[in-house]
């Protein structure tokens, strides 16, 4: 609890969190104003999909930076070494620090999307279940990239390394992952399609998008080809859960194995 308390005080007095939140607020308001011409009945879903398509570019990079710099500052300020030499192992430190980071990032996002819902109520017919699914999708994305950021902060030796790794991770999930799978696509047989889809949905951006769009009824599962049926061999929610668990776990383990307490190691 004291880590959460400390993380809160540090972040609400700093500029990074407010800057990140203001970007999300501005984007959401801009999308709302742009959507004023949409119909009262169906506009709600279009707005949410548009909003998701826009903030999906920002949330990963903001969370990567917040997670990475937060851990790196503990090294830079020598507070990490003071904690490790007194009590904690790195694994328990990282666990408590991650909980602190989750609370610092998620609470303002949740508060903002609650306020945003009030704005939406004036313009559209609200589907509470759809909105809840949208918020869950955003939360999953934020948590995965926060934990990845924490891993980057753990093994980086300098701020420049953090910037380099963060841009690489962002670029990988937005472009390289799909590009690599597309180049492999011609070799995918019907027997291998499950494995291929597991690889495809390991990309959290694809898993979150599929979950959101299918849950909102944008995709219909009624008339799929056999190949597409084999590709979507389980529910999108399961793909998202698997991707979420995989990346949280991998990021946590990588951070523990490759962490550097200071530059001397």
């Amino acid at each position: 609890m004291h880590y959460i308390w400390k993380e809160w005080k540090e972040n609400i007095r700093g500029k990074g969190l407010w800057l990140s939140l203001s970007i999300i607020v501005l984007i959401s308001l801009a999308i709302l104003f742009r959507s004023s011409s949409l119909s009262f009945e169906k506009g709600f879903y279009v707005l949410l999909i548009n909003l998701f398509d826009t903030i999906i570019y920002f949330i990963p990079i903001l969370c990567l930076f917040i997670g990475a710099f937060s851990i790196f500052q503990e090294k830079e300020q020598k507070t990490l070494i003071m904690l490790l030499t007194k009590k904690d192992h790195y694994s328990s430190f990282l666990w408590k620090k991650s909980l602190g980071l989750y609370s610092v990032v998620l609470l303002p996002i949740l508060v903002w999307f609650f306020i945003y819902l009030l704005f939406l109520k004036f313009s559209f017919q609200i589907d509470m279940k759809g909105y809840f699914i949208f918020v869950v999708a955003i939360i999953c994305l934020a948590l995965i990239f926060l934990q990845m950021g924490a891993a980057i902060g753990s093994f980086s030796r300098s701020r420049m390394q953090i910037i380099g790794y963060t841009i690489f991770v962002w670029f990988y999930f937005f472009f390289l992952h799909d590009f690599m799978l597309l180049s492999y696509l011609p070799k995918v047989t019907y027997e291998k399609v499950k494995l291929f889809s597991a690889g495809f949905f390991l990309n959290p951006l694809e898993a979150v998008r599929m979950y959101l769009e299918t849950s909102m009824g944008v995709y219909s599962f009624g008339h799929m080809s056999r190949l597409l049926e084999a590709f979507l061999w389980t529910k999108p929610g399961i793909f998202l859960l698997a991707s979420f668990a995989f990346w949280i776990l991998v990021s946590y383990i990588v951070a523990i194995i490759f962490h550097r307490k200071e530059g001397f190691e």
Binding site: K9, K78, T79, M82, T85, K86, K87, D88, K261, F264
Partner: protein, 225 residues
């Protein structure tokens, strides 16, 4: 009490510490002295369990420093060089956080006592980013003292501090009679003022002297007098 027996540490083929033996008893303030690159940081990191011991045994208060048993951590408190703590938190919040991180629950009376001991009680509600270097160093000492460990390891506690700030730090250290203290320092005048012994590290080997013996051995007998 700190006891090091036949400690060897190396990076690749380079031997940093060779057969180090050192015993620092209770009530002793021992300065760790050596040129840059002599292995002071390696020795401190070994004492703190941050570097696995390649060969040799280290005991802190009679407990062996190992990865498996972390009991020795209770007996030791470390203040690194050039630390910054949490600049956005106040001095009081910093001490409270470390107190809770170490013992689960902070004893507010004890927090007040350590902040008064380092003359920071009046400034405890000021954010640490507004502290001077000397105040920051005293706050670090308050955090270290709160833990009430028998053994303190201080890495250049007066580095980069103005003369008045240095004097304040040294006055605080002089009051810690009941502790075993190992402090690394480059300042002979402060060694002469507060230390009882000197552990001199050179070419990976260590010798322990009383302060007077050390000054004589280095032809510095008249230093500071």
């Amino acid at each position: 009490m700190i006891k090091i027996q036949n400690l060897n540490q190396s990076f690749g083929k380079k031997n940093i510490l060779e057969g180090i033996n050192l015993k620092i008893n209770k009530h002793e303030i021992c300065a760790l002295v050596g040129r840059n690159g002599a292995g002071k940081s390696t020795l401190i990191n070994s004492l703190l369990g941050l570097l696995p011991v390649a060969q040799g045994i280290i005991h802190i208060n009679g407990i062996e420093v190992t990865k498996k048993n972390q009991e020795w951590k209770k007996a030791i408190a470390y203040l690194p060089e050039k630390f910054m703590l949490y600049p956005m938190l106040t001095g009081l919040e910093n001490v409270l956080f470390f107190a809770e991180a170490v013992s689960g629950k902070a004893n507010h009376d004890q927090v007040e006592n350590v902040l008064k001991a380092v003359s920071l009680w009046d400034d405890c509600d000021v954010q640490v980013k507004k502290y001077s270097k000397g105040m920051l160093q005293r706050l670090g000492l308050a955090i270290t003292l709160y833990q009430d460990s028998n053994t303190l390891i201080l890495d250049e506690p007066t580095s980069g501090i103005d003369p008045i700030g240095r004097k304040e730090i040294l006055e605080i250290l002089k009051t810690l009679h009941d502790k075993t203290i190992l402090l690394s320092s480059h300042h002979l005048d402060e060694i002469k003022q507060i230390c009882t012994h000197v552990a001199y590290l050179s070419d990976g080997k260590m010798e322990k002297y009383t302060v007077d013996e050390f000054l004589q051995s280095q032809n510095l007998g008249g230093f500071g007098s």
